[in-house]
C-alpha cells in the first residue's frame, strides 16, 4: 500500500520549485477547489438552477416556447383538472404498489432460497440478474411480443390445449397497467434479490446455530428473527424501487405506449409528452414539478437516514 510513496517524493516537489514568498505559494487545497468547479457548476446550474427554471415556467402560460407572462398557479389548476393526469397518477399508485410489492416479495424469496446453500449459486444469481443489464426499451419490446394477444403467450397456451385461456391484458384498457408491473418485476427482481442476499449474508451465524439448538423451524426464524433484522435492507429496496417507478418512462413507451388510449399512462410520460410533443410547456412543467415533489416526499427520509449514518459513522 505504501509503495507509491517514494515515487511521489521524486515527482511532486513542484511546490518547492515555484516557491517564492511563502504567502503566495499555490496550495493543493486550491487545486482541489478548482477541480470541483465542473461538478459544482453542474450541480448548481443543471440540477438546482434548472429545477427553479422549470418551476418558473410552470407559473407561466408557455405553450410551444417559454413565455414569461405569469399566470400564478393556473397551470396547476389545469393540471389537476386534467383527466389524463389523474389517470397517470392513479396508474403510478397501482404500478408502484404492484411493482415494488412484487420486487420485494419475489426478490426476498429468491434470496432466501439461494441463502439455503445451493450448488451452482453463481449460475442462479447470474440468471436472476441478467435482465438488469438490458434496457427498459428492450424489456418493453420483448414483453410486448410475449404478451401479443394474437401470436404470443395467449395463443401458445391455447395451442397446448387450454383453449379458453385468456391473456390479452396488453390490449385491454382496464388491465394494461398490470402488464407494466409484470415486465418491471421481471427486470428488477434480480437487483432486489442481490440486496436481500447481501443482507442475509451479514446475519450473525450464531443466530442460526442458536435457533437450531432450540429447535425453531427454519421458516419461523426467517419470519420472526431474520426479517426484522433486515429492516434497513427492506427500506433501501423500497426507496430504490420507488425511484425507478417515479421515473418510469421508457418501459411504458416501449411496452404499451401508454395505451390503449391513455389507460397505462404514467406521470413521467405525461410530462415528456406535453413538453416535447403537445406544445404545452407550462402544463408539462407543472406536471414535472408535482412529480418532483412526490419524489422528494418519498426520498427525503432516505437521504436523511444516509447522512445521519454517515455522521455517526465518522464518530469513531
Amino acid at each position: 500500500m505504501a509503495e507509491p510513496a517514494p515515487d511521489v517524493l521524486q515527482r511532486s516537489d513542484e511546490g518547492k520549485i515555484t516557491s517564492k514568498p511563502a504567502k503566495k505559494r499555490w496550495r493543493p487545497q486550491w487545486s482541489a477547489g478548482v477541480a470541483l468547479v465542473p461538478a459544482m457548476t453542474i450541480t448548481i446550474v443543471c440540477f438546482y438552477g434548472f429545477i427553479i427554471w422549470t418551476f418558473v415556467i410552470s407559473l407561466t402560460r408557455s405553450r410551444l416556447l417559454p413565455v414569461y407572462k405569469f399566470t400564478g398557479f393556473d397551470q396547476y389548476v389545469r393540471l389537476f383538472a386534467n383527466e389524463r393526469w389523474w389517470t397517470a397518477m392513479q396508474n403510478l399508485a397501482i404500478h408502484g404498489f404492484l411493482f415494488i410489492g412484487g420486487c420485494v416479495v419475489f426478490g426476498y424469496l429468491l434470496a432466501i432460497l439461494i441463502d439455503r446453500g445451493v450448488k451452482a449459486e453463481g449460475m442462479f444469481r447470474t440468471v436472476f440478474m441478467l435482465p438488469l443489464s438490458m434496457s427498459f426499451i428492450v424489456t418493453g419490446v420483448i414483453w410486448q411480443w410475449v404478451m401479443n394477444p394474437g401470436l404470443g403467450l395467449q395463443e401458445a397456451v391455447r395451442a397446448l390445449g387450454w383453449t379458453g385461456f385468456e391473456f390479452n391484458w396488453i390490449v385491454r384498457p382496464d388491465r394494461s397497467i398490470y402488464t407494466l408491473a409484470i415486465a418491471g418485476i421481471w427486470q428488477q427482481v434480480g437487483l432486489c434479490m442481490a440486496l436481500f442476499l447481501a443482507g442475509l449474508r451479514n446475519i450473525d451465524p450464531n443466530i442460526w446455530k442458536a435457533s437450531r439448538v432450540d429447535g425453531i423451524p427454519v421458516w419461523r426464524v426467517y419470519l420472526h428473527i431474520v426479517t426484522p433484522m433486515l429492516r434497513t435492507v427492506f427500506f433501501t429496496v423500497f426507496i430504490l424501487m420507488s425511484a425507478i417507478v417515479m421515473k418510469a418512462f421508457d418501459l411504458v413507451v416501449a411496452l404499451t405506449g401508454g395505451g390503449p388510449g391513455f389507460s397505462s399512462d404514467l406521470p413521467a410520460r405525461f410530462v415528456v409528452d406535453h413538453i416535447l410533443n403537445r406544445q404545452e410547456l407550462g402544463l408539462g412543467a407543472a406536471g414535472a414539478f408535482v412529480l418532483l415533489c412526490t419524489v422528494i416526499a418519498v426520498i427525503s427520509p432516505y437521504i436523511y437516514y444516509e447522512l445521519k449514518k454517515e455522521r455517526s459513522g465518522r464518530g469513531h
Partner: protein, 284 residues
C-alpha cells in the same frame, strides 16, 4: 430433508426458467421465418434457424429505401458507440477527480456539496429536461452527438462522484498523511496514490456507466435529433413503425442486437456489475 432440497432446487429452477423464457423467446423468434411465427407458438423451437432477420435488422431493407438509408440499426449502433465512449471516459474521469477532491481534501462545504449532488441523483430527468434543451440549443450542439455526450456527462457525474467519493473515504488516513509529508500535491496524490488504489471501483463505474448510457432512451430521444439517434431510440422507432406487415422476427433480432453489448459486458464482468448496480440503482 431430501424432499426439502428437491423443493428448493425445484423452485429455483422454476424461477430461472421464468426469467430466461422471455430471453429464449426473443432469440428463437429472431431466427424463425414469419410463416413459422404465424403457424407455430412462441415456445416452439425454430425448425429451420436462419439469420435473415438479423441481417435485415442490422442492414435494413434496401428494397424499400426512404432516402439513402435502408433503415437498419447499424448506423445507430455506430452513433451509440460514438456517444458511449467519450461520455463514459468524461463522466468517469470527472467523477473520479470530484470524488477525490471531496473525500481527501477536507474543504468547507464539501459535505454539503456531496449531499446536494446525492439528491441530484434522485431528480427525475423530466424535471430539468426543458431548461437543458435550451442550454444545449444555445451551445449549438442540439441534435448532435457532442450534445448527447455533454448531457450524459451532466447526468452521470452524480453517480460516478458518489462511487469514487465513498471509496476514497475508506483509504487510510495514514497513507494520505505519508504522501502529504513526502510532498505530494493535489495531482500527484491523485495519479500516483489514489487512482492506482481505485482500479476496482474504476472498473465498476465504467461498467455501470456503459450500461446506463447504452440503455438510455429519454436523453437520446430528446437530444439526439435525426443525426444523433442512439440504438434504443432506433429500436423503438423500428418496432413502433406502422409501415407494411409487422415482422416480429426482425423486431426481435433488432432487440437482441440492441441488448447484446450490455449483455456481453454483464456476462464478462460478473461480480463487478453486481457490486456497482446496488450502489447505482437510484439512478433511473
Amino acid at each position: 430433508m431430501r424432499y426439502n432440497r428437491l423443493a428448493l432446487y425445484g423452485l429455483l429452477g422454476l424461477a430461472a426458467i421464468m426469467i430466461m423464457a422471455p430471453v429464449f423467446i426473443m432469440i428463437s423468434t429472431s431466427v424463425k421465418s414469419m410463416d413459422e411465427i404465424r403457424d407455430g407458438s412462441i415456445f416452439t423451437l425454430p425448425a429451420d434457424p436462419s439469420f435473415a432477420a438479423w441481417s435485415k435488422a442490422w442492414l435494413g431493407d434496401c428494397s424499400q429505401t426512404l432516402g439513402e438509408k435502408c433503415g437498419g440499426l447499424s448506423s445507430s449502433f455506430m452513433t451509440s458507440v460514438q456517444i458511449v465512449i467519450p461520455a463514459l471516459i468524461l463522466s468517469v474521469g470527472l467523477g473520479a477527480v470530484t470524488g477525490y477532491s471531496l473525500a481527501v481534501w477536507k474543504m468547507k462545504g464539501a459535505n454539503l456539496m456531496f449531499a446536494a449532488l446525492l439528491v441530484g441523483m434522485f431528480i427525475p430527468p423530466q424535471v430539468t429536461l426543458y431548461p437543458l434543451i435550451i442550454m444545449i440549443r444555445e451551445l449549438g450542439i442540439f441534435g448532435s452527438i457532442p450534445g448527447l455526450i455533454l448531457v450524459h456527462v451532466i447526468w452521470g457525474v452524480a453517480f460516478t462522484t458518489m462511487m469514487f467519493r465513498n471509496f476514497f473515504k475508506t483509504v487510510p488516513q495514514d497513507l494520505l498523511k505519508a504522501a502529504r509529508i513526502d510532498g505530494a500535491g493535489f495531482w500527484a496524490l491523485f495519479w500516483h496514490v489514489m487512482l492506482p488504489l481505485s482500479l476496482p471501483i474504476l472498473g465498476v463505474a465504467m461498467i455501470l456507466q456503459f450500461t446506463y448510457i447504452w440503455n438510455d432512451f429519454l436523453l437520446g430521444l430528446t437530444f439526439g435529433g435525426r443525426s444523433g439517434q442512439p440504438m434504443t431510440v432506433a429500436l423503438n422507432n423500428l418496432v413502433g413503425s406502422q409501415f407494411g406487415e409487422k415482422e416480429y422476427n426482425v423486431d426481435m433480432a433488432a432487440t437482441m442486437l440492441t441488448a447484446l453489448p450490455t449483455l456481453a459486458v454483464y456476462l464478462l464482468s460478473g461480480r463487478l456489475f453486481v457490486r456497482g448496480i446496488a450502489a447505482g440503482a437510484v439512478k433511473g
